[in-house]
């Protein structure tokens, strides 16, 4: 090996971490581009829910801009759980993950690179659904900057949620187990104010919705579309993302440590 290369990879710290992360992310994005069947269904699901919900509730939701109300729902439906965890499982099963482990790659980059790719995909999907909704006439109260914040929330949520499928992938190396992580999607997204505002809910449903962090994410994103700038709603949304991220990323990085440990 050349001395320059030895010196290059021997240097510890941020430069190598970011470089390795970008290599992993580039590879993941290339795979996603080549196999769009992993991404297109998410776009279809998001658009489908938007159109169906608007179609069904539009007539009975008097005085409410149902398109604006459903826009964040559509985005979250599209991006939640859309990860490269299945590819990671294949890498583990095919031995390619071991090949990466015998390179000097920064171990954290193995996971953060994939999450970076997820974030990019979430931004692209979020933008596409935004375009569909805006063309359909949803409007956007917070303007251009609000649009950027809206997409940023979606991207951060993608990272926060995807800790779960990555944790399962790294812990089990089993594709079926990773698929089962989709089950988390239902309580997370349906036990929220996905169809009606919180004030309209009663009983156990209201309790569950109150404790579900996604409710606050949804309300924060929705505030940008419907109301404009609502600092409280945005702050609670951000805290909800942070709470889920702390839990999911702790699990994911613990699983990564277990997977790369030599014991």
């Amino acid at each position: 090996m050349t001395e320059a290369a030895v010196a290059n990879v021997s240097s510890r710290g941020r430069p190598r971490f970011w470089r390795d992360t970008s290599f992993v992310a580039q590879r993941a994005l290339r795979d996603a581009w080549r196999d769009p069947e992993g991404v297109i269904p998410a776009l279809v699901i998001g658009s489908f829910f938007f159109l169906v919900n608007v179609g069904q509730f539009g007539a009975i939701a008097e005085g409410v801009n149902i398109k604006a109300f459903q826009l964040p729902v559509a985005v979250l439906f599209a991006i939640t759980g859309l990860s490269r965890a299945q590819s990671l499982v294949l890498d583990i099963r095919d031995g390619y993950f071991d090949r990466l482990l015998v390179t000097p790659i920064h171990r954290g980059a193995l996971l953060i690179g994939l999450m970076t790719a997820d974030m990019v995909i979430a931004v692209v999907l979020g933008c596409l659904i935004l375009v569909i909704a805006l063309v359909a006439g949803s409007g956007f109260a917070a303007g251009i900057v609000g649009l950027l914040v809206f997409i940023a929330y979606a991207a951060l949520w993608a990272i926060a949620y995807n800790g779960f499928p990555y944790a399962i992938a790294l812990r089990t190396g089993n594709p079926a187990a990773v698929n089962s992580s989709f089950l988390l999607f239902f309580p997370f997204l349906f036990l929220t104010t996905v169809y009606v505002p919180k004030e309209a809910l009663t009983g156990w449903m209201k309790t569950v919705v109150t404790w579900n962090p996604v409710t606050y994410l949804l309300e924060g994103m929705r505030s940008l579309v419907v109301v404009g700038w609502d600092a409280d709603a945005l702050l609670w949304g951000l805290l909800a993302i942070l709470g889920v991220a702390i839990l999911s990323q702790s699990l994911a990085f613990a699983a990564l440590r277990g997977r790369v440990s030599r014991g």
Binding site: M1, T2, A4, A5, V6, A7, N8, V9, S10, R19, D20, F23, R27, R30, D31, R34, D35, S87, D91, D94, G95, Y96, D98, R99, L100, L101, V102, T103, P104, I105, R262, G263
Partner: protein
């Protein structure tokens, strides 16, 4: 300095001891064949040497660096081709090699130059720009080998590099490994193919049930059994075969005799003159001979002598010097 050195290397999985006090010393530039059947402990030893697994006890050094204490430095100096070609089927060959080079810290231009060199070495040609999922088993193996070489390692680990390949692909991989000898790279090669170890390795270590049971050049190992081997397959009970073995051991022309089931293996110093006395002795005992083979010793004979069992027949290749 040895390129690879282990001392009292042990690896346990629960109560199972996969590697049992293995001592290795592989010189720089040497091709070392680590031979043994499935489950003997070859891959576990290699995974420890490649920094993927910690030993339960013992010490090991690769390229003069302690593998346990300095795994990151070791990784810079080794190349690895793991069992079952560990490749990403969605990438092209060129993308895979480029990523590999970049992860090892090579610059963009240096990586591109290196990939071009390896393209010539592997003979993959236009296939380098095709997705790996379209490659044949042999092409995948050659790419796997190239991926291990992209950063110019001092020591290359090859874990069963030709398992599952057709004879033509196998000999192409052999050619590439032989070519490495000229570059001065040390090659540590695990294999369950006797012919492969015989063809490629400067020295061979035979591992059985986690223990290194013999070590030497192929010629030394074969010579340890005598000049010739007579193998007699008898058509009788095992007890009668044992009686026959005891009788043959007393013949002047026989150096050593071993009975494994209905097969008697004789080490002899002059095969041609040993055949008749052996046949006569067995006839006198009324032990019926089904087949008698005279040949020079093979590594399979060495393996049988050391472990009491053959490697699978289809893995041994064609025994050399067979006369029936």
């Amino acid at each position: 300095m040895n390129a690879i050195e282990t001392r009292d290397l042990v690896r346990d999985f629960g109560t199972f001891r996969a590697v049992d006090n293995v001592d290795l010393a592989v010189g720089e530039g040497e091709i070392y064949g680590f031979l043994g059947p499935n489950g003997a402990g070859k891959s576990t030893t290699m995974r420890m040497l490649c920094t993927l697994l910690l030993p339960t006890q013992g010490s090991m050094a690769v390229a003069g660096l302690d593998v346990v204490e300095r795994p990151e430095q070791v990784r810079l100096r080794i190349g690895v081709a793991l069992q079952e070609a560990a490749l990403d089927p969605k990438q092209t060959g060129r993308e895979l090699l480029t990523l590999q080079g970049r992860l090892f810290g090579l610059g963009r231009q240096e990586t591109a130059d290196r990939v071009r060199e390896l393209e010539a070495l592997t003979g993959l040609g236009d296939a380098m720009d095709r997705r790996i999922e379209t490659y044949s088993g042999g092409m995948k193996r050659r790419l796997d080998l190239a991926a291990g070489l992209v950063h110019g390692p001092d020591v290359l680990f090859l874990d069963e590099p030709t398992t599952g390949l057709d004879p033509e692909s196998r000999s192409r991989v052999w050619e590439e490994v032989r070519g490495l000898r000229e570059t001065g790279v040390t090659v540590f090669l695990t294999t369950q193919y006797l012919e492969e170890a015989d063809e490629l390795a400067d020295r061979i270590g035979i591992i059985s049930h986690g223990r290194l049971v013999a070590e030497g050049t192929p010629a030394e190992l074969k010579r340890s059994l005598g000049a010739d081997v007579v193998v007699v397959r008898v058509d009788c009970s095992e007890a009668r075969a044992q009686e026959g073995t005891a009788a043959l051991e007393n013949l002047d022309v026989v150096d050593a005799a071993e009975c494994h089931g209905n097969e008697i293996a004789l080490s002899v110093h002059d095969g041609a003159s040993a055949v008749s006395p052996v046949a006569v002795a067995l006839a006198d005992l009324d032990v019926r001979v089904a087949e008698m083979t005279l040949r020079t010793p093979t590594l399979d004979d060495v393996f049988l002598h050391l472990t009491g069992s053959h490697l699978a027949a289809d893995e041994t290749g064609i025994p050399e010097g067979v006369t029936k």
